[in-house]
Symmetry: C2
Subunit: 146 residues, 2 copies
Amino acid sequence: MVSATPTDWQLDPKIAAETIPVGDLALTRVLLATDANYPWLILVPRRPGLIEIIDLEQTAQVQLMGEINVAAHILKSTTKCEKLNIAALGNVVAQLHVHVVGRHHSDPAWPKPIWGVVPPIAYDAGVRDGLVDTLRRGLQIEYIRN
Amino acid sequence: MVSATPTDWQLDPKIAAETIPVGDLALTRVLLATDANYPWLILVPRRPGLIEIIDLEQTAQVQLMGEINVAAHILKSTTKCEKLNIAALGNVVAQLHVHVVGRHHSDPAWPKPIWGVVPPIAYDAGVRDGLVDTLRRGLQIEYIRN
């Protein structure tokens, strides 16, 4: 199910510095933001030169929506979040990326959008690794089912 | 191309109070936020009870992506915005709605997300009506082409 990554594609260094990889779906690399304030996935299409969702042709847009759907389902079932926030902003990092964030009414930014509200806090390494493992298993299962 | 609106669907009153209608695509009602700080469309699927994108079945998710694509293209060509911000948040208003916002480097929130940064400012009525007319024509043309 997973396409090869084009050799001329590279993950933006700022995104790479603030995330850890969960896995590759057919179009996107799925990453966990290393900010324990929120369960927060970032999906980055592995194609060079993309900035906007509308830079993708229609079939790839449909694929992106399918991968957002899978990631959102897994994040919701794993974290029991009360709301999902899904957004493609890209005002700071130009490389097209889609945020899939699980929100809890008790999180430090609720009900505001998360960006820039409080500084990131580090995960406990064991918690982070357990979350990544759970997400990884869930993505594989859901993606095959999809 | 436009489906009938279910009789049990109603636009959330808070969204209605802060927007004016541009028109209906097959799935969504397209609205212009009445905040002259940003060219800002809101797409609301005309189906009762939706909160998350993942509440839609896959075919409707694909349709939603197609309508986001059309709205984003029209907004970009009409406003010459430098970036698009596309987001489904819904932390304040639960009814599923997708923001499609044209960003300029000179806008009052750049590069932050727009929500809650500065108070809305009123459009000049003539400017607003001209923008709605242009968007309406563009949506019809692009939607047929899509």
